[in-house]
């Protein structure tokens, strides 16, 4: 079976000191590390596992600037067979609708059995791209998959639904499925693994190649524009305890007892 998997390069903010850039629209990125979006890591693993079981080919797509190539290399190192980089200055400032349109043009003329996306990206946190792509491709879709099996021209997908429940649905292929974290254990990618795929060709496509007018994507085509980023207001939150560890812990226990919470 032939599978497309859509990935994104995002900043890793786990340990990062976050500052807003002077443009007010991006993060000061001189000290940031970037990585494959966590959910996309699970999506690539799911795609490669399906290929290993059923045969076929995995093609990774990303929309992003020159640096975004590194997440395609990572997907190749995990076992993708081909990577396509949608790279054009006109994509800058795209909302999920713009990204979905670019992916639709790139994916639409190929015959994939399954299109996988991470359910959400850690930077934009909308979780819109997969569902919008499905609507544009006019394919059935399931969001937030926690388990996935393919049987012939159907897939059985367990996904998260209302009230903390999960539901198993059967869906006709081809389909778009967005992958929730925890669906599998993404394989480790070593530096050597990345080096091995360093020479593989990555097909680069610009707006023209996709038959897209530059006004349809990026800032110009966005249905939702980012106007300003700001750090959350501080204060009004927790009383932050001071002193040595022993002092802090003693005060903490006092507070808990004052509240009658112990």
């Amino acid at each position: 079976m032939d599978i497309a998997v859509c990935v994104k390069r995002v900043p890793d903010l786990t340990e990062a000191e976050i500052e807003i850039d002077s443009d007010g629209l991006s993060l000061e990125d001189s000290d940031l590390d970037y990585d494959l979006n966590e959910w996309d890591d699970f999506a690539v693993e799911a795609a490669v596992q399906l290929k290993e079981k059923h045969g076929g080919k995995v093609t990774a797509y990303t929309v992003g600037d020159d640096d975004a190539e590194e997440v395609l290399r990572r997907a190749l190192a995990m076992g993708a067979d081909e990577a396509i980089h949608l790279c054009d200055d006109a994509f800058a400032g795209s909302d999920p609708w713009g990204i979905a349109q670019a992916l639709q043009r790139a994916i639409g003329d190929r015959k994939f059995d399954l299109i996988l996306c991470g359910a959400i990206s850690s930077d934009g946190t909308s979780g819109h791209t997969g569902g919008m792509l499905a609507a544009l491709l006019d394919l059935p879709q399931v969001a937030l998959a926690t388990a996935l099996e393919v049987n012939g021209d159907k897939a059985e997908v367990c996904h998260e639904v209302e009230g903390g429940l999960e539901r198993v649905v059967e869906i006709a292929l081809p389909a778009v499925i967005t992958v929730q974290s925890g669906i599998n254990e993404p394989r480790y990618v070593s530096i050597r693994g990345i080096r091995k795929v360093a020479g593989m060709d990555i097909d680069v496509k610009e707006c023209d190649d996709l038959g897209l007018d530059s006004g349809q994507v990026g800032d110009a085509g966005a249905r939702v524009r980012l106007e300003e980023l700001a750090l959350p207001p501080t204060g009004g939150g927790a009383e932050i305890l001071e002193g040595s560890i022993d002092e802090m812990v003693t005060t903490l226990i006092e507070r808990i007892r004052e509240q009658g919470a112990l």
């Binding site: 786990t14 609507a135 209302e162 389909a175 980012l226 812990v249």
Partner: protein, 325 residues
């Protein structure tokens, strides 16, 4: 005149509280001359529709056996036709698993902009502006839509707006609706999976020690277990700990896990994402221990220690032992 539609989420045969929060927001956005309608989909809905009619001007009821199991695709096929027929200015839904499945598809099919997970939402002329969180919840973003003649869509963060109390005497119109003639979902629900009952019921515990990504390694759970023992607490966790297989799903607190309301909730190495905090309800006394002073958890906790959990936890365990002996 603004016409606003609220997609009502139902769960286990009841209306989710989010419907009343969305009503508050929808009333503010509709203004004095606008209308606020609800869309209710499912089977056997008479009682729920009557309840909604106490708050909404109009309740569109799709009562059909084909909608008995909540499903984003079935709901979507019904809603595209309804929104296009009625020409809604704005369609609102709670930001939940169901709306993540439904709204991207629905907004593209109808053709309007979609705002996700808003905690503020207002008109700016005929367009919408909103505030939401981005970058793992650590940054606030102000966003705005482009102009749309197909209406707008937005999902709204749970708890961002106070729920409106239904007025017993308000008489909204109940409007029965039929599914489109060409209704043909391409996916079929096979079964619903209840969370596995764990050996520990964290929803019944008065004291919870919650552990997150900050624990770093599975073997480090040992210090959390021994803290819990000293505190007479049960151990629960945030999503990453379950994703790694270190604790079972029955221990997960959050919007995709369980909802808890203990007296005391000690969050250790948890950044405090909205998804996690959505699972802590009631009047818990909330303690946060995290090495990142900027972690969102400190914005919602009552008391916090900024420090290395591997130093703080053993000291805290000793204190708990003293006060409980």
């Amino acid at each position: 005149m603004k016409k606003i539609l609220v997609i009502v989420e139902r769960h286990a045969g009841a209306i989710d509280d989010s419907a009343w929060e969305l009503l508050t927001l929808a009333r503010a956005l509709a203004g004095g001359d606008g209308t606020v309608s609800a869309a209710l989909l499912g089977e056997g809905l008479d009682a729920l529709a009557a309840e909604l009619a106490k708050g909404f001007d109009n309740v569109h009821v799709f009562d059909d056996s084909r909608l008995a199991v909540p499903d984003a695709e079935g709901d979507g096929l019904a809603l595209v036709a309804l929104i296009e027929r009625e020409g809604y200015s704005l369609t609102l839904a709670a930001h939940t698993n169901l709306s993540i499945d439904l709204l991207p598809w629905l907004s593209v099919k109808v053709g309007g902009p979609l705002l996700a997970d808003c905690f503020e939402l207002a008109w700016r002329g005929d367009e919408l502006e909103a505030k939401r969180t981005v970058f793992e919840g650590k940054v606030h973003a102000k966003v705005a839509t482009s102009a749309s003649d197909k209406g707008y869509f937005a999902t709204v963060r749970g708890g961002a707006f106070e729920g409106a109390a239904p007025a017993a005497n308000a008489g909204g119109a109940i409007q029965p609706e039929s599914l489109p003639a060409d209704f043909a979902p391409r996916r079929k629900a096979l079964r619903t999976v209840e969370p596995e009952a764990g050996e520990v019921d964290i929803t019944a515990s008065e004291v919870l020690i919650a552990v997150g990504r900050g624990i770093e390694e599975e073997e480090n759970l040992e210090i959390i277990n021994s803290l819990a023992e000293a505190a007479g607490a049960a151990v629960c966790c945030s999503r990453p700990v379950v994703d790694k297989g270190w604790l079972p799903k029955a221990r997960q607190v959050g919007t995709s896990g369980l909802t808890v309301s203990p007296k005391l909730y000690v969050a250790v190495g948890i950044s405090g994402s909205f998804q996690h905090m959505g699972g802590v309800k009631g009047s818990s006394y909330l303690v946060a221990i995290n090495k990142d002073a900027k972690a969102p958890i400190f914005g919602v906790a009552d008391v916090g220690i900024v420090g290395d959990l591997f130093e703080v936890i053993p000291a805290l365990e000793e204190e708990f032992k003293k006060v409980r002996s």
